[in-house]
């Protein structure tokens, strides 16, 4: 038994040490790669069924045991090297891009599956009494770990950085917030974002609701009509922005004819062509149109399914009582779907609050007065390398969603109480 244990330890530690040494040779952190080597070694030992289980010993005859041992050694040595090579490969500059992409996809997809399988195998080897206590944490563990490192820690860290200087070294008190609420460009962004979160959800909601109500009456073609409105949901903000840049495009008089439909109509009416995207403050509305175009379909589809869920008897009864179509819509349809309207509006408000791509792609927000808060955040933190300002702007966005966060948690609690 002692001999067996020694062999296991050698099989496990040896390759891990080798990996660490190789990493040191190549100027990487030896401790990190030693730890990774241990992890992969464990994985390999488990994979070939060699790691000791508390009650189930390795099955099979001597030959099979030998075969498994050889496979284990090969796998244990090869796997860490393979993974380390794969990581290097995905970073290399001169390899075939298709091969890199294939390796990267395999690494990511197989990696996450392997992670859960290995952890579950380890739990199986714990003392009997522990297993079912530990197993739930293995199932939620990766999700909780990722959320902690990439979401919870950052929220706290961003709040701290928002009180520090541009490189996040020195405390500066409320200076960054003073900047947020005094800088003219920042103030414009706050005003614009306030407009975005009112105009975009309102228009998308009204158009979506009316369209859903009207389309509900079609005998044929309802789903096609709805698809057409929903289609822009599939397109990226960047794609949509380029699409509308074509519509708004502008050539000054005498520099060729205008290929943008807006100027084509405008000049056909006998006017001079207009550089639409520099017309303050109306250019903001033109950018909002893009998001309305994209989000109306969402509102329409959700509201449409809510409208269909209203029992027909209620509507029929109202009609028999002589209610006009408008009265039915106003006094039955809208009140019945009010909860859905609230949810859709909340979702669209949050989306409008975070809008960034459209403004960014349209370019020159500061010259055109089209700044929005999320765009300012990226400009300050990334383009101008001022983490303090960027963090303070992010915190403003965060504070804006806190009411929704509280409402979500409250509603969840209420639902759980019913369960």
């Amino acid at each position: 038994m002692a001999l067996l244990l020694t062999i296991y330890l050698c099989l496990w530690l040896g390759p891990a040490l080798l990996t660490g040494w190789l990493a040191a040779e190549r100027g990487r952190s030896p401790r990190l790669w030693f730890a990774l080597g241990l992890l992969f070694g464990l994985f390999a030992l488990l994979a070939v069924g060699l790691a000791p289980r508390t009650e189930r010993p390795v099955d099979g005859g001597d030959f099979e045991k030998l075969f498994r041992a050889v496979v284990a050694v090969v796998v244990v040595v090869v796997l860490p090297l393979l993974v380390s090579w794969a990581f290097d490969f995905t970073k290399s500059r001169d390899a075939n891009r298709l091969a890199i992409v294939a390796v990267a996809i395999a690494l990511g997809v197989l990696g996450v599956f392997a992670l859960f399988w290995v952890m579950d195998q380890i739990v199986d080897r714990l003392p009997r009494g522990w297993r079912e206590t530990v197993r739930p944490y293995v199932f939620v563990g990766p999700a909780v770990a990722v959320l902690s490192v990439f979401l919870i820690y950052p929220v706290v860290n961003t709040i701290l950085i928002s009180f520090k200087d541009r490189r996040g070294d020195r405390w500066v008190g409320l200076d960054n917030y003073e900047f947020v609420f005094t800088d003219p460009s920042m103030l414009r962004s706050l005003r614009n974002t306030a407009m975005w979160i009112v105009v975009v959800p309102a228009v998308a909601l009204v158009v979506g609701l009316l369209f859903a109500t009207l389309a509900d009456r079609l005998q044929r073609g309802e789903s096609i009509a709805k698809s057409v409105i929903f289609l822009p949901m599939a397109i990226s903000f960047v794609g949509a922005a380029v699409t509308f840049r074509l519509i708004y495009s502008y050539r000054p008089e005498g520099f060729g004819s205008n290929v943008g439909v807006l100027n084509a109509i405008w000049t056909a009416l006998g006017n001079e062509p207009v550089a639409w995207l520099t017309q303050r403050p109306w250019n903001n509305l033109l950018l909002m149109v893009i998001m309305i175009w994209m989000q109306t379909g969402f509102a329409m589809v959700v509201l449409s399914s809510a409208i269909k869920a209203i029992p027909d008897e209620i509507i029929e009864a109202a009609r028999i009582d002589g209610a006009s179509e408008w009265q039915v819509f106003r006094h039955i349809t809208v009140p019945s779907i009010l909860p859905t309207i609230t949810v859709v509006t909340t979702y669209m408000v949050i989306n409008a609050l975070k809008v960034f791509d459209i403004v960014f792609v349209m370019g020159a927000p500061e010259n055109n007065g089209t700044e929005v808060v999320a765009e300012r955040m990226l400009t300050w933190f990334f383009t101008r390398q001022n983490q303090g300002y960027g963090a303070a702007v992010a915190v403003v966005l965060f504070i804006a969603v806190i009411p929704v966060m509280i409402a979500n948690v409250r509603r969840f609690r209420a639902e759980e109480a019913i369960r």
């Binding site: 990190l32 970073k91 500059r93 891009r97 992409v101 990511g108 996450v112 599956f113 399988w117 206590t133 197993r135 199932f139 999700a143 909780v144 990722v146 959320l147 990439f150 979401l151 950052p154 860290n157 961003t158 158009v207 369209f211 509900d216 009456r217 005998q219 009509a225 057409v228 929903f230 289609l231 822009p232 949901m233 397109i235 990226s236 960047v238 794609g239 380029v242 699409t243 509308f244 840049r245 074509l246 004819s257 290929v259 084509a264 959700v302 027909d312 009609r319 949810v343 859709v344 791509d357 792609v361 999320a374 933190f381 963090a391 992010a394 966005l397 965060f398 969603v401 979500n408 948690v409």
Partner: protein, 297 residues
């Protein structure tokens, strides 16, 4: 659903719907038509002028797509987008499904509290996470002199962006999947346990097959979200010609050749092609995926 006597659509309703649909299709149609026009024509006349002579083959060309894919590097960008989007979809959904199963069918301390945290995290703007994650990627983190997050130099790597996208997609995925997995009948899980199946087996053999509709809906949602994302890719992957994804490539092209409409529209359509294909082929799941969060949440 019954069709009441008053419910028939009159010409007014039909006309309105037709007009709105036309307005909504018009922008996409413009991009599609322009992308097939030769440079000289695309930049001197409106795309709608082609309607007068649609069968004049001299006004159509595939040259723009060749330019975009080869010279502008969209070939590479498409591959990169796949390399980002596929793992960044599989990773959160796998983690979320395991977590959702544990939240629904396993007993452990802190279950309720952890799930409330997940619900709260759903609406956190990802802008809150960008700066600290970038700092972690560039320098790691130390707490009282102990390395709690090693300096892995993840900035500009696929792993770095996968992890970021995983974190941003996880709360919603966990919430939606828990709603679905939690509503499966408890009798089937009890009987599987009776037959001696352990949790891992129940999850992989029973829960995953039963949850295909929910998994498919969220997979489509997350894939398109990642594919269409500009912000996360811009911060963590950057705009080098090796690394950039399609949205970044399009944004850069829009900045560099902003008036070359023949190339720009072709590039825009290249980035849209896959989402539109997903949209048309999996529309049912697609709509369900995009709307589930709002209807349920």
């Amino acid at each position: 659903m019954s069709v009441g006597a008053n419910k028939k659509a009159g010409w007014f309703v039909k006309g309105t719907i037709l007009v709105v649909c036309f307005i909504w299709l018009f922008p996409t149609l413009g991009v599609l038509v322009t992308s097939f026009r030769p440079a000289a024509e695309a930049n001197t006349s409106g795309w709608w002028t082609t309607i007068t002579k649609p069968f004049d083959t001299a006004q159509w060309t595939l040259e723009n797509y060749r330019t975009v894919l080869d010279a502008s590097g969209f070939n590479n960008a498409l591959l990169n987008s796949l390399a980002v989007a596929i793992p960044a979809t599989v990773m959160p959904i796998t983690m979320a499904a395991f977590a959702a199963y544990a939240f629904s069918w396993m007993e452990f301390r802190g279950r309720q509290v952890l799930f409330v945290v997940v619900v709260a995290l759903m609406v956190v703007p990802l802008q809150m996470a960008l700066i600290p994650i970038l700092r972690l990627y560039n320098g790691g983190a130390e707490l009282f002199g102990i390395t709690v997050f090693p300096d892995l130099d993840l900035n500009g790597t696929f792993l770095g962006i996968w992890l970021a996208h995983t974190a941003f997609g996880l709360p919603l995925a966990t919430y939606l999947l828990r709603n679905y997995i939690g509503s499966l009948p408890s009798s089937i899980i009890e009987s599987a346990k009776m037959d001696g199946a352990d949790h891992f087996t129940i999850f992989t053999r029973l829960i995953v097959p039963l949850s295909v509709p929910a998994l498919a809906a969220f997979t489509i949602f997350q894939f398109l979200w990642v594919w269409n994302d500009l912000l996360v890719a811009y911060v963590f992957l950057g705009g080098t010609s090796d690394n950039r994804v399609v949205t970044i490539a399009l944004q850069m092209l829009s900045g560099a050749r902003g008036q070359d409409w023949h190339v720009l529209t072709a590039a825009a359509f290249v980035t849209m092609a896959l989402p539109l294909a997903v949209f048309f082929s999996l529309q049912r799941y697609f709509v369900r995926g995009l709307t589930a969060g709002a209807v349920k949440g």
